[in-house]
Amino acid sequence: MKRKLVSIPLSVLLVSSFALAACADGGKTTPAATTGAETPKATADNTPTAITIMAPLNTAQTPPDTIIKELEKLTNTKLTYQFFPADTYEEKLNTTFATGALPQVTYLKNQATFIQMKSAIRDGQFWEIGPLLKDFPNLSKLKATTNDNTKVDGKLYTLYRGVDIARQGLIYRKDWADKLGLKPPATTDDLYAMMKAFVENDPDGNGKKDTIGLTDRNDLIYGAYKTVATWLGVPNNWGEKDGKLQPEFMFPEYVATMDYFKKLRNEGLINKDFAATSKTDQQKLFTNGTAGMYIGAMTDVSTLNKDLIKNVPTAVVDVHSMVAGPSGKFASWALPGFANVVLFPKSAIKTEADLKKILAFFDKMMTPEVANLANWGIKDVNYSVIDNKAKKLDEEKWTREVKPFTDAAIGDEDTSGRFLGIPTIPAQGKADELKIANLKFAVQDPVAALDSKTYLEKGVQLQDVIKDATNKYIYGTIDKAGFDKAVEDWKSRGGSKIIEEYNALYKK
């Protein structure tokens, strides 16, 4: 590990001298700084704006120019995309940053790189774009909640690339449920009853008691735990109690969730080793026909289905999301809504007029016409339209030519008005509908837009204290008193400070 660490500053040193050469390597590009300086100050409106964009590449090769050519035509720009492999994108970002050579449009990689960039953003190295958005009809359609989640000290510096906010739900074996005469669970009690039936009533009909209800993994967030917790009424990370923000695990509903899972484990309705199970092994339990339920992102249904029917050709899967807790109310855990964000460095964009030209480009990117081009490619070459939905013509060709631009598209399906895709199986279509229906019940994280200094320093480490205690409680190695002790431990090691810091910001 140490060698890797040390290599960061080293690569800053070494790479700085190669940075220009490396840029040129990525395509016929001019270094960003020069491009910025060369941008004519008073261009007439019909001269194309030159824009250099740096973005992570999730495919094996840089895409051909075909899509860029079309984009340039539609948006009246001269675009230079610098794609760098996503695996090493963070290093590239840091070194380019250190040498002051960031291009006008800089994509980060994910939420984590965004959090790391926050201090640089506070230092005033990037343009604040919040007040300008109202002048752009399409950019002002970007979701306010997601924008709030990407604010730094209450100011907006970034445009976001959206992901589904409320995609959490249940993927289950419909053939099993039908055979046992079960309806999709309406409450968490039904959910428990279904798991029990899946274990005890021999749903696969082989005469052996060799099935389990739910498959879970060693992840209390993206595994089943948090989704079920939200159904049972636990707030999303933080919630308000007695007029004050408190972490989720101080709510009685959190303990109720632990009890729920403890019962599942004691009765063998869930895989006994879930706290040591990886995502691959978790999914394997579902796709090899052992487990009847998977709780997580409903959008995974088509991949899970594909692998399942290889092993069990008669299997039928379905998705479901409306499960109510004891209060009778339905709730859905909401993700912060962005997968990546774009920053606009002041080192490359000299004036506000230049900034507006670049924002105008992104504004056009969010019109249905351009958004479809960036998402699906060229009509009748990369996709065809059936019933107002897009169908890819050649998956491989699409991946090579279009996917890099899809990964760089701003906004969401419903804000840009681009075509929805045609689902490969009916359950996939249902998942797409449910994730929109879920939005009405979405429980947002109230601190997503707030920053606590102590949290940035120790949050992950402290979170482990709670994570361990939660697992130990479920496994029965500690009781309620032991869990309370862990919470006190969390408080004394910095948690109290985190509570204070968030509450100070929250009141404002």
Binding site: M1, L5, V6, I8, D273, A276, T277, E457
Partner: protein
């Protein structure tokens, strides 16, 4: 006068010496040219990066660089030593290391000695190939295989235990099973590969020694004890010192894959701590400080063991 003479003479000698050195350099110029890539390698990849250790005394911010970041002195080290879990982490690391030495280290030696006694070439070659193989698998695969074997939901080992009427054992989560599982996996993956050097050392032993011993009526065990083992003694010691040099390199990936909520109090080691406390939260300086601390322990141990080795009349590594 005399002083001047002495000075002059000194200069002459110096010139003579330097020209001597120059001539020697010139004479062996190709050897030095061949040395160059090695020297450059160490300079560029081992010594220049040490410059980066500076960040453990700073509040390093990537965009400000080393020159722009703020100096904080020993703050990060203080934080490490006052961390409530510090002694648990350090002792976990050392316990795993000692287990490595005690349970893993002798195994390749024993295996090499045993292989050496095998007469059939075919059997020997086949066996070697089989025991080398696991070394080429990544830890992810090895940990996954053990997961499948040891899991309570249909793992074969637990099925066997149940078949014989015993309680299933929670191998994967129980803290008391973490260390045995760890060391078993290390042995399974590395033991075969570790025999290579010992076998090579054994192969270089003069066969006449064995003949003479046989004449004197030494049996196989006697030969092993009095000829083979002493002959590879220095190899064993060098490898031991090298092993100790990497004292805290217990394999981040391996431990991280085995680590879970239930066994953290025995499984968290310095490497995994660096990852969770440092890298996941972007605290480069804190991570670098821990790395530096770890290297110091390694250095101190190597110097100690090297000294002991020399006292024992061995050459050591330097």
């Amino acid at each position: 006068m005399q002083e001047v003479n002495v000075a002059q003479a000194g200069r002459v000698v110096a010139r003579k010496q330097s020209s001597e050195l120059g001539r020697r350099l010139w004479k062996n110029k190709w050897i030095y040219v061949m040395l160059l890539p090695g020297v450059l390698y160490f300079l560029i990849f081992k010594y220049i990066p040490m410059y980066g250790l500076i960040i453990s005394f700073q509040n390093y911010k990537p965009f400000k660089g080393i020159s722009g970041s703020e100096w904080v002195g020993l703050e990060h080290f203080q934080r490490l030593f006052t961390e409530p879990d510090f002694f648990t982490i350090l002792s976990n690391t050392l316990i795993l290391f000692v287990m490595n030495l005690v349970f893993y280290f002798p195994i390749p030696i024993i295996m090499a000695l045993m292989l050496n006694e095998v007469k059939s070439d075919f059997f020997k070659k086949t066996f070697q190939t089989i025991v080398y193989l696991p070394h080429f698998m990544s830890w992810v695969i090895i940990v996954s295989i053990s997961f499948v074997m040891f899991t309570m939901d249909g793992g074969i080992i637990n099925d066997i235990i149940e078949y014989f009427g015993f309680e299933k054992i929670n191998f994967l989560l129980a803290p008391e099973w973490f260390r045995p599982m760890y060391i078993l996996q290390v042995i399974w993956r590395e033991a075969g590969w570790g025999t290579i050097i010992y076998l090579a050392a054994i192969a270089s032993i003069d066969p006449q020694l064995y003949e003479a011993a046989r004449m004197d009526g030494a049996g196989r065990l006697r030969q092993m004890w009095h000829i083979t083992l002493p002959a590879i003694r220095s190899v064993i010691i060098v490898l031991l010192i090298l092993k100790i040099g990497a004292v805290l390199e217990l394999g981040f990936e391996h431990v991280y894959l085995l680590l879970n909520s239930m066994n953290r109090n025995v499984a968290e080691i310095i490497d995994t701590y660096v990852y969770t406390a440092g890298l996941k939260q972007g605290q480069f300086s804190y991570s670098a400080a821990i790395g530096l601390f770890k290297s110091f322990i390694g250095l101190a141990l190597v110097m100690l063991v090297n000294r002991i080795a020399k006292k024992m009349g061995e050459e050591g590594v330097y």
